[in-house]
């Protein structure tokens, strides 16, 4: 269960982890907790899965990466093997089996389009892969997951 001070810390840390030598002391001021209390509680909240990741979140475009959403038609019986190959790509960060005529969907970030083309060619050649679509992102209207805990 989340206490009121947990919610205050979580709401604050979602958008602003201070870039100062003692960031957790500053967060503590917002919730009326000491630096050590904040650190202890954040460790627990991370271990319990309430927090997925803490730190800097990068803008992939600004780092020079290109992104696409890839959809595959995978023949019955081949799903597990195909998914396992996709999972080996560093830039394939989200890989989901979904309902529909395209049944495997993954996001792919690469440092350039040539790298992407190479991966897509390799995926197209996998046994059981009947079709591949690459849906390139033209514009990102929202990328931020932020929840307001009340």
């Amino acid at each position: 269960m989340l206490s009121l001070s947990d919610k205050k810390i979580l709401n604050a840390i979602q958008t602003n982890l201070p870039l100062t030598p003692h960031p957790f002391a500053e967060l503590g001021k917002l919730a009326g907790l000491s630096e050590q209390e904040v650190i202890k509680r954040l460790n627990e909240l991370r271990d319990e899965g309430y927090i997925r990741r803490i730190g800097p979140f990068f803008d992939s475009d600004k780092l020079g990466y290109v992104g696409t959403l890839v959809a595959l038609k995978v023949k019955e019986g081949y799903m597990e093997k195909v998914a396992a190959v996709i999972n080996t790509y560093e830039g394939a960060t989200h890989n989901y089996e979904r309902k529909g005529k395209y049944n495997l969907w993954f996001t792919l970030l690469t440092q350039n389009v040539a790298q992407r083309a190479k991966i897509l060619d390799d995926v197209r050649a996998l046994p059981g892969v009947e079709a591949v679509m690459s849906l390139v992102s033209r514009k990102k209207y929202k990328v931020n997951v932020k929840f307001n805990l009340k």
Binding site: P18, R53, L63, Y96
Partner: protein, 160 residues
């Protein structure tokens, strides 16, 4: 981005130390001073390479046990207005304009979160009505094969 920038990014994208002076620990790992690390990170934030310094919560933290990827056919002339309106909805965490193919006309992708599947469906209906969209497809997940955070510039490190 020079070699030091890439080394910093490779280091800080891993586990963030939950200790009194986290930047001191990270700076040691990079091999620079705490002050230099903080200055560089501030610069990345100002220039936009870092879009946020903070945390991402598990969806369950906010009570969201269900989610759905919904793809829409949005008239290109109204793209900006409609995509912005959908992005403004609090249940929508991601909203992208993407290219289409011959047999796949959907150009906008929204990730929707709610407590239950029927609440997700209700959000989809709400978005459809508010933006007068009829052509859409709900892509419910059957199995999660991988979900990780991107780790940048790792391949270069492996080569070295």
């Amino acid at each position: 981005m020079d070699a030091l920038d890439k080394k910093i990014i490779r280091t800080v994208q891993n586990d963030f130390p939950l200790v009194a002076k986290p930047y001191e620990i990270l700076a040691e790992r990079v091999g620079i001073s705490e002050n230099e690390l903080i200055c560089r990170l501030k610069r990345y934030k100002d220039e936009g390479q870092i879009r946020k310094m903070g945390a991402v919560l598990g969806h369950y933290t906010a009570g969201f046990a269900a989610n759905v990827l919904c793809a829409w056919v949005v008239p290109p002339d109204h793209m900006d207005t409609i995509a912005k309106a959908m992005a403004a909805h609090s249940a929508v965490s991601h909203c992208y304009d993407r290219t289409t193919t011959e047999d796949w006309p959907y150009n906008v992708y929204t990730m929707i979160h709610a407590r239950t599947r029927s609440e997700c469906d209700a959000v989809v209906e709400e978005l459809a009505q508010e933006n007068r969209l009829t052509d859409k497809v709900l892509l419910y997940s059957v199995k999660e094969w991988k979900k990780t955070s991107m780790r940048y510039f790792e391949e270069e490190a492996a080569v070295r």
